[in-house]
Symmetry: C2
């Protein structure tokens, strides 16, 4: 390993394929301080790379065969395509050839490959996904945003612990406030899942601020807001749709050049940020929006470097174990509650 | 009963109490075509009424004792305060002294009083609440928006049938498209609740368009979007919070007088509309936002008149029974599935 971190990128992932992933890799490598491994169809990736005139940049191409596409069953697709770009990409991290990976392809495939090859944290049922996604609350982490749609109370606790760890080690918050998304502020308000999770959060050692209502996501009540992945994914996509619709609406009444149009359309952060870390796997894994372009991919490389510098994965594993011990939940390695 | 409809208003309900409810009643009565019964503390309501110089307007005051406030347990509060403003208001509908009622007080109390005194539709577990709430999709009904936070699949079917009936009879849609809010468009995507409800919807006779994702709430994919009341209430409040935060954000970068600020801050419809019908009770019941002012209350009176003209309640009862029969769900009067 060189002194610079080595990041593997699934060059075949995302809606635009190698042309944008390779362009992003070149942008990132030009900025310096990183070595990049581009994984994909060798001829196709080399062709895209040459078009970018990479000359002596620290970028290598690692060949793979086939791609797991959005909509395929991730586990089945990985079994039938063991040399697919995502499998080879994650394999580089497992073998210690790379320090972390980025994929803009199927998030389900990134997650499945990470669990199979890198393994997940003890006491965690499944990995989770979270992060800020609304430009009006750009430092508020929402977790889970789609990885786990049917949840048990202890899963929400795990999301809270991992989200707080992310907020602390990655975003630099001192003592992040953690809230449970609900339909009323008092204890006892909410669906059964939230009501039961509330008790676990109270004894978790987390800086728990209670329930947070939908409007309170914009009033700085909590730094980390926990919900099941069904609710989180609906909110993430609702935010994207609302930002687009609001921009169209303002363009109609104020003219397309109005600064308000640009300001409002930038409120959906997901595409701009490129990728976000998968929480709960034993290695740095960043999964991104299929629509990310070169700039988003280059930005993701910076995020990956930062995550490695702060030892995000190590802190998350420790913080999850601490919250579970505090809350007195004994879990098997599959995340089943033992007592 | 006069030729004009008679609307009972809980004059004590809402954040501003009699001053705004009475002002709203006077505004509505001045517009004509309606008789209004104002229910509340007699002295207080008379005082507020005289300040509005109602002269010969068709407004009468009906005395009541006490108020059920937000946060009280609705059923318990109704038992301990049988002459509270909401109990007397709903009682007027039960006795045939009024054709419908409006309350800006505790929605839980309006619902409980309606169920106790008017009764609910056969085959319905609990009444539901729905309607458009986002100015960017002003004719898209979201149902349930907070009345039922833990749902069974058959409840989602009921919400869909009642929402479609509302869309048809109240909003004038010919063959409203009904969708299930989910995290992916294909059948099989979603949490267990949505997956099971999908099968019921397919055989419901409703114009079912499948799953609708969060962003598709702005792309005219469906006229009625069904979700459990936890998700719906989070979205409703998230929309309010986002509209307020977006307006503050635009005011900061463009100046408070920018037309964009006004346009964006008006996107949360709930306060403007005043009140929305409770779905599933045997009588016209409108529950509103506590923050509604006189104009919102007057607007609600117009909504109530329209609902009576189109026989909203009668159509809803028929349409619910038809969808349940189509889907082959046999239900007890408590909404329990029999087969």
């Amino acid at each position: 390993m060189s002194d610079n971190p080595i990041i593997a990128i699934d060059a075949m992932g995302g809606d635009y394929g190698p042309s944008e992933t390779v362009r992003g890799a070149v942008l990132a490598a030009r900025a310096g301080g990183v070595t990049i491994l581009l994984v994909g169809d060798e001829a196709e990736v080399q062709h895209a790379l040459e078009a970018e005139h990479p000359e002596s940049l620290p970028i290598k191409v690692v060949p793979s065969e086939g791609v797991v596409i959005e909509g395929e069953h991730p586990a089945r697709a990985l079994r039938s395509k063991p040399n697919s770009s995502i499998a080879v990409t994650v394999g580089l991290v497992k073998q210690g050839m790379a320090d972390g990976f980025i994929s803009m392809g199927s998030t389900g495939a990134s997650m499945a490959a990470s669990v199979f090859l890198l393994g997940k944290f003890p006491g965690l049922e499944r990995p989770t996904l979270g992060g800020p996604f609304n430009g009006l609350a750009p430092k508020t982490t929402i977790i889970d945003i789609g990885a786990n749609v049917d949840c048990k109370p202890v899963q929400l606790l795990n999301f809270g612990a991992l989200g707080a760890s992310f907020q602390r080690s990655y975003l630099g918050f001192n003592n992040p406030r953690v809230g449970l998304l609900s339909v009323g502020s008092e204890e006892g308000k909410g669906n059964k899942l939230v009501q039961e999770a509330f008790a676990l959060f109270k004894s978790s050692g987390l800086n728990f601020v209670g329930n947070v209502e939908g409007n309170e996501m914009f009033t700085d009540k909590a730094d980390v807001i926990v919900c099941d992945g069904f609710v989180g994914n609906v909110l993430l996509k609702y935010t994207e749709g609302m930002a687009e619709a609001a921009a169209r609406y303002l363009a109609k009444i104020l003219g397309i050049d109005s600064p308000a149009v640009k300001a409002i359309s930038s409120l959906a952060l997901a595409e701009e940020h490129g990728a976000a870390p998968l929480f709960g796997v034993n290695g740095l894994a960043l999964a991104g929006h299929g629509r990310a372009k070169g700039e988003g991919i280059a930005a993701s490389v910076l995020l990956a470097k930062h995550a490695l510098e702060v030892n995000l994965v190590g802190h998350m594993r420790e913080d999850l174990a601490a919250a579970q011990e505090h809350a007195g939940v004994l879990l098997s390695d599959d995340g089943e509650v033992q007592a």
